[in-house]
């Protein structure tokens, strides 16, 4: 068992209180995670300036280079994490053990986070639209058009209340360090591994350790302290969290995505051509991400599409985490899977809804220490069906009958929208729709992320404000 101390601006802190993260199958303790209280977070925040000062002692180029090396170390090296040494294989097994995710999926997320670290220069170049990062570092400069531009850091440290659902989401906060902004992280209770390993890799690669704090502890207590201590924070949560922080300029909130595929009138007849894209969008990464597709809207052939998806997804079984074919993550919180299935069953009882995977065996698979939900597809013959727009943490999708003209008013907030249509007028309406965040025009799987594009708001714009600066 590895002991993970809290990290207070680079210094390990052994708490008198600790939580155990256990293996979801065997119940064996995998990590002892030192828990701190909100007072420590609030008090440390008074020293946030030092974190930024330490980062400003290095140029953005040097920090980008350190992150590149950190990416290599994160992926390949044995690192000092907590009181132990952690190899890449240890990391993957530990992450799988406490989250219930298959090992192959955890490995894929390693590659994803390492890719972001190694390519952070290009990512920042894209997010800043080619701005010379030295202008951010200096505070102002000439972009090359003879115009002075100035950017003001909105916080010295970004607070982040991180989730446990997928190690892949950590890619969102990785670019913060080269922007010379520190990090105060509250790791997810089941997935402390990625923040600790990223921090270890960064420090090993030369990022000043004083720039990073990690505060495990009670979610509400630590989360509230982080959000109230820093002028810019990132939080992951459910619909209630989204609602709570809507319109709060200090908080970038990441929650359910309700990501969708829309088939236009001109494409619905060729739906078979897009079946692979639909299956991939629903199933990739165990269906656990906000960018997985949760609804497919089509003007025609809804029943056939649902049946075809069910034929592909329905037979998928819950396999042990070390099986290379495993594609489903376990629900490790007792009762969670059963509660989700009960909610789905209520929706399936609707007279205009058909459960397309019913013929492929029970969806809820309860085991001794965990439970699985097998991929579930249902067909909604109306946009008013209760299950038309739901998102769950497993491959679950509604195929919804909807005329093209009614789609935009029916889909609601949509993080990723893959619109398959060549209808230019419909495309223009999609581009103009403010309730769609990431828009894919054409048959692009919803989880396919282009890191050169912003995700749920541009991180650079969140952390830096473009303001006027005149010098005489």
């Amino acid at each position: 068992m590895i002991n993970l101390p809290a990290i207070r601006w680079g210094e390990p802190y052994e708490s008198l209180e600790a939580d155990e993260a256990t293996h979801f199958l065997t119940g064996e303790p995998v990590a002892r995670v030192n828990a701190v209280g909100s007072g420590i977070v609030t008090r440390d925040a008074k020293k946030a300036r030092r974190a930024r000062q330490a980062l400003r002692s290095m140029s953005p180029a040097a920090l980008i280079d350190a992150c590149r090396r950190a990416g290599e170390l994160f992926e390949m090296a044995t690192l000092a994490v907590g009181d132990g040494r952690q190899s890449p294989d240890d990391f993957v097994r530990q992450t799988s053990a406490t989250t219930g995710m298959p090992i192959a999926m955890c490995q894929a997320n390693v590659a994803k986070n390492a890719f972001v670290l190694k390519n952070i220069g290009q990512i920042l170049d894209a997010l800043t639209r080619g701005l010379d990062l030295d202008i951010l570092a200096r505070g102002y400069g000439d972009e090359g058009r003879g115009v002075t531009v100035s950017y003001q850091a909105q916080t010295e440290v970004l607070g982040a209340v991180l989730p446990s659902n997928s190690p892949g989401v950590h890619a969102l906060w990785l670019p913060v360090i080269p922007l010379q902004i520190g990090l105060a992280l509250k790791p997810g209770s089941q997935e402390p591994w990625t923040p600790y390993r990223v921090a270890a890799a960064m420090v090993e690669a030369g990022v000043p350790k004083e720039a990073i704090s990690i505060y495990p502890g009670a979610g509400g207590d630590i989360g509230a302290a982080i959000l109230s201590s820093y002028r810019r924070s990132m939080i992951f949560g459910g619909p209630q969290t989204i609602q709570q922080y809507a319109g709060n300029e200090r908080v970038q909130v990441h929650g359910p995505g309700y990501s969708k595929i829309l088939l236009g009138d001109d494409a619905a007849g060729n739906w078979r051509d897009y079946l692979d894209v639909m299956v991939d969008s629903v199933y990739r990464n165990g269906g656990r991400s906000c960018i997985n597709c949760s609804s497919i809207y089509t003007p025609r052939h809804g029943g056939e599409i649902a049946a075809a998806l069910a034929e592909r997804l329905g037979p998928i079984e819950a396999l042990p985490p070390d099986d290379p074919q495993a594609g489903l993550a376990a629900f490790t919180t007792p009762g969670a899977a059963a509660a989700i299935w009960a909610a789905i069953e209520r929706d399936l009882a609707d007279p205009h809804t058909t459960h397309a995977t019913a013929a492929y065996g029970p969806r809820l698979v309860e085991q001794a220490t965990c439970a699985y939900l097998r991929p579930t597809v249902w067909h909604c013959r109306s946009t008013g069906c209760p299950g038309a727009n739901k998102e769950y943490m497993f491959p679950a999708v509604a195929v919804v009958d909807c005329p093209q003209a009614k789609m935009l008013e029916s889909i609601g907030p949509t993080l990723v929208c893959t619109a398959i249509t060549q209808d230019e007028s419909f495309r223009q309406d999609l581009i103009a729709a403010t309730h769609i965040d990431r828009l894919n025009l054409g048959p692009i799987p919803t989880p396919q992320v282009n890191w050169l594009q912003p995700h749920e708001g541009n991180l650079v714009e969140f952390l830096y404000r473009n303001r006027a600066l005149q010098a005489a």
Binding site: S15, L16, V36, G39, I40, G220, L227, Q243
Partner: protein, 375 residues
């Protein structure tokens, strides 16, 4: 040899305390179930019992004959049904617990809260809680016992108590609604009042504060370039499941500036609620890992740590179980009330020769539904 002598002394003290508890139990049960002195609730309950409490309760253990005490009995009126006939003409207070939604639990009191806090006063070291010094009470008043109790404590020690209110029911609503900015603003509102009073030349040396407010007060004073020691505070008592060893360590090492002999500030935890008296702790020290062990004010109240699957069975020393409270005063009889907390059973200690409880935290089966640390 001295250890052995100590063991013998402890054993004798434990035996004496047990005999005293048994005798007290018989006396209190007789009081509550006698027609001339008992309260309507227990006199009515007596008819449902399959035994006669006046003749068949001969020891504390005999209280197991009573059915489990249901907290629903304390919700709703008429409140007079809890007033013992022998005390019916006295001025009666009612104190409440819970009540964020629905009907709160209530209990009546005449002198109990004063007696409890006078007994607690005897445990406070004079060096840090000087007699005659004034107090600050920074916590919930309203329908709770705390404000009057702390005020009595101050008066009992020859001081005067300044009070700043915090409404925990509103705080719980803010947390449940997710209105964290309002929560911060409300906390700030309380702390600003406290700093104003502390700086107003009233010679306040002692205070009660809830853990969250003590922490917020220290952090705000630090923000202003001051400290708790600079305000003149030397003695603090606080309580609740938020008062953990780690929190104590954080306060002592980082907020107060060291242990009492260095910082001049002594803080002691307490455990209790409106339904029982005030359990005190053994001194909390770094050498003991800031461990907090509470002992009830026996024989007026008893804390037991019982098995999760058998509430009549006390767990072995060091074992984990649910906290069970019994209150035995002439004003209130509450046998076997299951608290919403759990902890570890601790052996008797020379000053308190009966069982204690350490590691008190929300009962794991209810923890998700319990909002803690609100004030």
């Amino acid at each position: 040899m001295s250890d052995r002598a100590g063991d013998i002394d402890i054993a004798a003290a434990v035996q004496a305390a047990r005999e005293r508890l048994d005798a007290h139990t018989v006396e209190i049960v007789a009081w509550h179930f006698h027609e001339s002195t008992g309260c309507p609730f227990w006199l009515g309950k007596k008819r449902e019992l399959k035994f006669d409490p006046l003749t068949e309760i001969r020891s504390f253990d005999d209280l197991k004959k009573f059915p489990p005490f249901e907290d629903e009995w304390l919700r709703g009126g008429p409140v007079r049904r809890w007033a013992p006939r022998a005390l019916a003409d006295k001025p009666i207070y009612v104190f409440e617990t819970g009540g964020t939604t629905g009907v709160p639990k209530s209990r009546i009191a005449v002198e109990d809260f004063r007696i409890d806090y006078s007994l607690f006063s005897d445990t406070l070291p004079e060096e840090y809680f000087p007699l005659g010094s004034n107090w600050l009470m920074l916590g919930p008043s309203g329908p709770r016992r705390l404000r009057l109790a702390v005020e009595h404590l101050a008066q009992h020690r020859g001081g005067i108590c300044f009070c700043i209110d915090l409404d925990p029911r509103w705080v719980i609503k803010l947390i449940k609604k997710g209105w964290m900015e309002h929560l911060e603003a409300y906390k700030k509102h309380c702390i600003e009042q406290a700093i104003t009073i502390l700086g107003a030349g009233h010679d306040i040396r002692c205070m009660f504060g809830t853990p969250k407010l003590i922490e917020a007060l220290c952090l705000e004073l630090e923000e202003r370039g001051s400290s708790l020691a600079e305000t003149g505070i030397t003695g603090i008592f606080s309580g609740g499941t938020e008062f953990t060893p780690q929190w104590t360590r954080f306060c002592i090492e980082e907020l107060f500036g060291g242990p009492p002999e260095e910082s001049g500030i002594y803080m002691t935890p307490t455990y209790g609620n409106t339904l029982m008296g005030l359990a005190c702790s053994k001194p909390v020290t770094k050498g003991d890992g800031y461990k907090i062990t509470y002992y009830a004010p026996q024989p007026r109240a008893v804390v037991e740590v019982v098995a999760f699957d058998d509430y009549d069975e006390v767990v072995p020393y060091g074992g984990t179980g649910r906290v069970k409270l019994t209150t035995l005063t002439k004003e209130f009889f509450m046998p076997g009330f299951l608290e919403r907390d759990e902890g570890e059973r601790e052996p008797p200690y020379v000053k308190y020769p009966w069982d204690g409880v350490s590691g008190v935290r929300p009962f794991h089966e209810l923890a998700d539904a319990t909002t803690v640390g609100v004030y």
